[in-house]
Symmetry: C2
Subunit: 475 residues, 2 copies
């Protein structure tokens, strides 16, 4: 355990024991540094960590205080869980493509991007590993590593499952071209055109596009911004719509950032199993937690082989390498064969490089640094939004990932904001791209995974001004 983690644990202990009361001011960084005989930066990091865990909060130009459960910005409202949504044909792709294309120019400030900054990743070390791995590569790997994929990489992934307390055999794992291919293959493995699929609302747009492309119908199930899908609504949807599959993100959901507690995951898996409905679990952000340990995937509670767990290295280690995987339970063979007949194999140099990197060790160290960076980024972005966005703004403060879900003040339309922001060289992700009904018009998703800078501060200030102007006009 690092020094700052130890310090944070000590302070957390003091708070739990009541030595530090709610609302009480913590020692200044200078005081704590002197008293504990640690560097000021260690204290800073400990305070950041405690803030991320919700135990303390910063007040501008004043210092840190023990949290009383309140936040500077009010939290998001709960979703309406009593609505009974219809199964709908999805038609969101045009809008998604328009937004995606707007985020690709390098000069646009990428608050609307789906990717974290590539500068957060050990690209140089990966390149070195790749150089070594491909120069030593047995040419026959090019034949033998076709679907289900490189044996050593599947073994390394199975080992990581084991460390997280899951029993997943290498034989169940299919290496895919990023998690996106895995999710798409899993969906194809368990559905036929015309079938109904349950999704969270709001949801990651790739799920909407896959449903649209495969001629399926979507049923929205409301998600809470803090702890994910509403189980009562899920149960009603299961009974009413007889879906063939359910596609969800359990950890740091995109766009909400919600994290399902373990008990809730277990109840959900049990509920779905009772209806014999496979769960396509998108868990690409699971490693990006700010708490004490990796949140479990729903697959940890699966006893029926119905949970198809998909993840990748794209968001936490090797963007652009396009290496992900599916652990599709009882559908493993079907997914392996779908992969074989659609893209045959994942790029072998990329597969053996990741196998080599994982085998050598150092991934967990990188992840610790990455989590810490993302946490600091969140703190800076949230503070800037507090400084610059007008009253009436509300937002999440997720305990992992790199997205904020922001409710705009009344009367501000996020699609209009998207267009106005783009004129100012700033991209955002407007709410309707996360909705089968193009709803969530008063929400935007902001990416805090790009490095904080004066330019970023300027962009958030400019965004605040545009929101202010749009809200004035509507008042």
């Amino acid at each position: 355990m690092k020094r700052y983690e130890q310090l944070a644990d000590d302070i957390a202990h003091s708070i739990r024991e009541g030595l530090l009361a709610r609302g009480e001011k913590l020692p200044s960084v200078r005081q704590a540094s002197a008293a504990r005989k640690v560097s000021p930066s260690t204290v800073f990091q400990a305070y950041y960590l405690l803030e991320a865990r919700g135990l303390i909060s910063a007040r501008e130009r004043s210092g840190y205080y023990v949290s009383g459960g309140t936040q500077h910005l009010p939290p998001l409202p709960e979703p309406d869980i009593n609505s009974t949504p219809e199964a709908t044909q999805v038609d969101v792709s045009e809008l998604v493509f328009e937004v995606l294309e707007s985020t690709r120019a390098r000069k646009v400030v990428p608050l609307g991007s789906a990717f974290p900054s590539p500068l957060l990743f050990p690209m140089a070390r990966l390149a070195k590993t790749m150089a070594a791995c491909v120069q030593a590569m047995d040419p026959w790997r090019s034949v033998e590593d076709i679907s289900p994929g490189d044996a050593e990489l599947r073994r390394q992934i199975a080992l990581r499952y084991m460390i997280d307390g899951l029993q997943v055999s290498p034989d169940e794992i299919v290496i895919t071209n990023g998690a996106l291919e895995g999710l798409n293959l899993c969906l194809q493995a368990v559905t036929q055109p015309g079938d109904t699929v349950l999704i969270g609302s709001p949801t990651f747009y790739a799920a909407l596009q896959a449903i649209e492309r495969n001629g399926l119908k979507a049923v929205d199930v409301p998600c809470h911004p803090r702890d994910g899908i509403d189980l009562a609504a899920l149960q009603r949807a299961l009974e009413l719509h007889k879906p063939t599959a359910c596609w969800l993100m359990t950890n740091f959901q995109n766009p909400l950032g919600s994290l399902m507690p373990d008990d809730k995951k277990k109840d959900m898996v049990t509920l779905l199993a009772r209806h014999n409905v496979p769960l396509i679990e998108d868990d690409v952000y699971g490693e990006l937690y700010f708490g004490d340990q990796r949140p479990k995937p729903a697959k940890a509670f699966d006893t029926a082989g119905l949970v198809m767990h998909c993840s990748s290295f794209s968001k936490c280690l090797a963007p652009g390498y396009r290496v992900g995987w599916a652990a599709p339970g009882r559908y493993a063979k079907t997914v392996e064969r779908l992969k074989l007949t659609t893209t045959l194999a994942t790029s072998v140099p990329a597969q053996i490089t990741l196998a080599g990197y994982l085998k050598k060790g150092g991934y967990d160290k990188h992840l610790r640094g990455l989590r810490h960076t993302l946490l600091l980024q969140q703190i800076k972005f949230v503070a800037a939004i507090e400084r610059h966005f007008p009253a009436g703004t509300r937002l999440t403060s997720p305990s992992g990932g790199y997205f904020l879900w922001v409710k705009l003040p009344d009367g501000v339309n996020s699609l209009e904001l998207h267009r106005e922001a783009l004129k100012n060289g700033i991209s955002i992700a407007p709410g309707p791209i996360f909705s089968a009904h193009k709803g969530s018009t008063d929400y935007v998703r902001l990416n805090y995974g790009h490095l904080w800078s004066d330019e970023m501060e300027g962009a958030i200030a400019a965004l605040g001004q545009i929101i202010h102007r749009l809200s004035m006009r509507s008042a």
Copy 2:
């Protein structure tokens, strides 16, 4: 032009001018070497080249003779082009998977493999290029090289089209995870479940699997073993079945090895355009020609934007890298977006490596060597088959690629041969995996792309014995 090519051209000229008559014996290698003042190996290579062009043929222990148009083994029969096939649901995958899996163990002699030997490719040089490219890689490539793909790679591919006389803009090119992904995306771009697709018969099984997976119906159009699809039968099928698309391999078709002449390609493109039917053109073997120049793709004759040309580097440069592309004419944007929503991007290290390799030069030199090797391989395999297979065997002698299509003696069933051969550690590709109706039961496809050796000779001898035994039993 190399010395042996010059020598071959001189001899070809002599044959055309009648200086060397049909059936006449050529000078021995030693004689020619002395007379022409070139090395014996130059003469050997020139004779091989002339043999591949069908101008001369070797008689065992006797030497080379000017061809009279006859071959030692009789050619394949023409297909029955007057049948009017029904549109059929396809259900061939199980059989294909069984055969594919049988070819993956390294100890099995891979005559049934779809891949050439990985030892034929410049893996060391590619690895060196990859090391240099990834170590110099701009991290933002991981974001910018998502579909349609790396700009420099698309430019290099467009340049190669230009050299072959085709005008294809880099903007039309979508980089894919091998040609297989390109073909699948093109099919999805132009069809809906229930639609009818024309395919060659026999055909590459991936086309059958894609049709099966996408809920489409297939109509077989007979293919000639020498010059490909029958145009009269194609026209009847177009009129009768109103297909939504046509999926064909124009150059060195898998499994036939047939090569459509340019005029025929042009007529086919015109015919399809008249019916407004897009052509999905699989051209992965086009670079593996043994003649004077690369055969044109059908796309060279497309004026309506209806030809979706797909190819890759997997069969001619970089197996396992999984880099291919589609040039889908008027459907380019649709294919680009399908790629974006299914696999997002092709592995960026693989993309930039191929771009770097192509930019540096040396690809054409590698290809010349590869073609020469494959041609020599074909000669050795055909000679061995002549030595070991029983009378009644017939086979193709394609002018490119690495497949032989072999008709077994009457009464020998290729599925039975497949099972018997596998017991002897030899894989073959039985005819039914290339047929929507599990037809072609008396044919097998043999791969001559694995290096000739005593073990290979032994495998062909063993195969010949099994065929002999099976044909005796049926007699």
